[in-house]
């Protein structure tokens, strides 16, 4: 009697109809999943970011600056982390007469999927010992995009010795996303339609004196944001989409 209990129990018999139904549903789901996967034809053509970004425009000109910029991933200034996340990354400084240099960083990913998206700068700054304050949405009025405005973000990053004002926008496909949920939903709906959107982070920042007053900071923001728009206007129609999306 007891011995029977110790043996491995025999597999219980199941309802054949139900087993068959589960099998049909599973195979259907596997088929649907592979059909709905966007193929490579859903991707945008590759670009060479270095060449697309102008070195001189309006009153601005690129300068070789000794300033070290904030890395584009939370992993810090490690090339492998940047390379694993983005297809291209460019960091430059620009100067114009009568003002501190503005640091500019671009991070471009040709295919934005649910995993491996652009990192938001607030995380990169705080990972590397900066305190991030005043993260806020803002909007730039411009006729460069059909919508008439670009959604951007502003933040203040500071350490003991350094106060940095940051403005950025993240374009994914044809939207300017201000949060991760927004990005995810957009990527999801584009993907289900067979498209793989590309994405770019366009970040500008400048170091301002620690004792800057609010109105000084407002002026600095306006200056670097105008520079963002000036840069886009200076680019030819054929490459502008990289920064502001298809028009």
């Amino acid at each position: 009697m007891r011995i029977g209990v110790l043996k491995i129990p025999r597999l219980p018999h199941l309802n054949w109809t139900h087993v068959a139904a589960v099998a049909v549903l599973s195979i259907g789901a596997a088929w649907a999943a592979s059909t709905l996967r966007p193929g490579s034809e859903g991707q945008v053509p590759p670009i060479v970011l270095e060449q697309v970004i102008p070195t001189q425009f309006g009153s601005w000109v690129e300068s070789k600056s000794p300033l070290v910029q904030m890395s584009l991933t939370p992993q810090g200034a490690r090339d492998d982390a940047v390379a694993a996340t983005y297809d291209a990354a460019v960091m430059r400084s620009y100067v114009e007469a009568g003002g501190p240099p503005v640091m500019v960083a671009f991070a471009y990913g040709r295919s934005q999927r649910q995993e491996g998206k652009i990192h938001r700068p607030e995380l990169c700054y705080s990972s590397q010992g900066f305190k991030v304050d005043g993260l806020a949405n803002a909007s730039l009025q411009t006729s460069l995009v059909p919508a008439g405005h670009i959604n951007i973000k502003r933040l203040v990053a500071h350490t003991q010795g350094r106060l940095e004002l940051v403005s950025y926008w993240i374009r994914i496909g044809d939207i300017f996303s201000q949060n991760a949920v927004n990005s995810r939903l957009y990527i999801l709906s584009a993907g289900l339609q067979g498209r793989v959107p590309d994405g770019i982070l366009f970040r500008v920042s400048q170091i301002v004196p620690k004792e800057s007053k609010p109105e000084d900071m407002e002026r600095a923001y306006a200056r670097q944001e105008k520079m963002m728009l000036d840069m886009v206007s200076a680019m030819p129609q054929s490459t502008r989409w990289v920064l502001v999306g298809p028009s």
């Binding site: 129990p9 219980p12 649910q114 990972s127």
Partner: protein, 298 residues
């Protein structure tokens, strides 16, 4: 009693060959394989090969083993009494499959792996019913830890832990007289710079440890709810401590033997240090709690 329940389990009590049921179970396993082989293949080449998610296959394997272990235990105790609830079961299966299709086709691992929960729960309901599902709750709970959370959530939750672990390591080593300084999550010891990466203070390692801790509790079958709950909560500081030990060991290896040795340690051995430390802490905490609860009772 044992004899009759055994009779219920087999396809026939007389011991007729049950190749039919073997075929059925094989078919169900094949369904899971058809759905998840591509997923596991993709994960093995992607997410699971990163430091952040290397615990994925371990947790998944343990979850699978636990399903097997628990259902065998139920069957052996004669408590696997089929009372199928196919209607509810198919609803669960369908929910699971819809999540799966979205997740699989859009590389959304949260949905893709998350779909396993309703899908398997649905199968249990279809063939065995609510009671058995309830008996297996812990296996589902464990499976939950195998679901990779979206990067943004992980980043937000991990960040304070990284800061805490970096801060703790800095203070410990400073007080031991090492030349160490910290900026955010970057430690500078001597001439070397260490970045306390996600893997070193990860939510994922916390999750894995929490999962393994819960498994330990479940297998130990503690009677006292007090001990279970306290230990489950203690796993959070234990995990942080274990991570701190790992970072400190890494810093010391780098300091004495150089960057290369440090990197070798990171890739080869530091995970082991983490889990050994955590396991030791869990077991000794458990022993301590046993003494405490005994002392109060006696």
């Amino acid at each position: 009693m044992a004899d009759t329940s055994h009779g219920r389990l087999g396809s026939s009590a007389a011991g007729a060959p049950s190749s039919g049921s073997a075929l059925q179970w094989g078919a169900l396993l094949a369904c899971i394989a058809v759905l998840y082989m591509p997923t596991f293949h993709a994960l093995a080449n992607g997410l699971w090969s990163t430091d952040q998610n290397s615990h994925g296959p371990i947790v998944l394997g343990v979850a699978a083993w636990f399903f097997y272990f628990k259902s065998r235990q139920l069957a052996a105790a004669g408590e696997l009494l089929p009372a199928p609830a196919p209607a509810a079961g198919f609803v669960f299966v369908l929910i699971g499959l819809v999540l799966y299709v979205i997740g699989r086709s859009q590389d959304f691992h949260l949905f893709e792996m998350g779909a396993l929960l309703p899908f398997i729960a649905g199968l249990v309901l279809i063939f065995f019913g609510w009671n058995t599902l309830r008996r297996l709750w812990f296996a589902f709970f464990f499976l939950f830890f195998a679901i990779p959370l979206p990067g943004a959530i992980v980043d937000v939750l991990t960040h304070p832990m990284k800061i805490l672990v970096s801060w703790g390591s800095e203070h410990l080593l400073w007080n031991l007289g090492y030349p160490i300084s910290r900026s955010g999550v970057i430690l500078t010891i001597g001439q070397y710079q260490l970045l306390v990466a996600d893997a070193c203070a990860g939510l994922n390692s916390l999750f894995t440890l929490e999962a393994l801790g819960m498994l330990y509790l479940n297998l130990m079958r503690h009677e006292s709810a007090f001990r279970n709950i306290v230990l489950a909560i203690l796993i959070v500081p234990i995990s942080l401590t274990a991570n701190l030990v790992r970072v400190v060991v890494l810093a010391l290896v780098t300091y004495y033997f150089g960057d290369e040795a440090g990197q070798g340690f990171v890739h080869g051995f530091s995970g082991m240090v983490l889990f050994m430390t955590a396991l030791l802490l869990i077991i000794s905490m458990d022993g301590l709690l046993r003494k405490v609860s005994k002392a109060y009772r006696g």
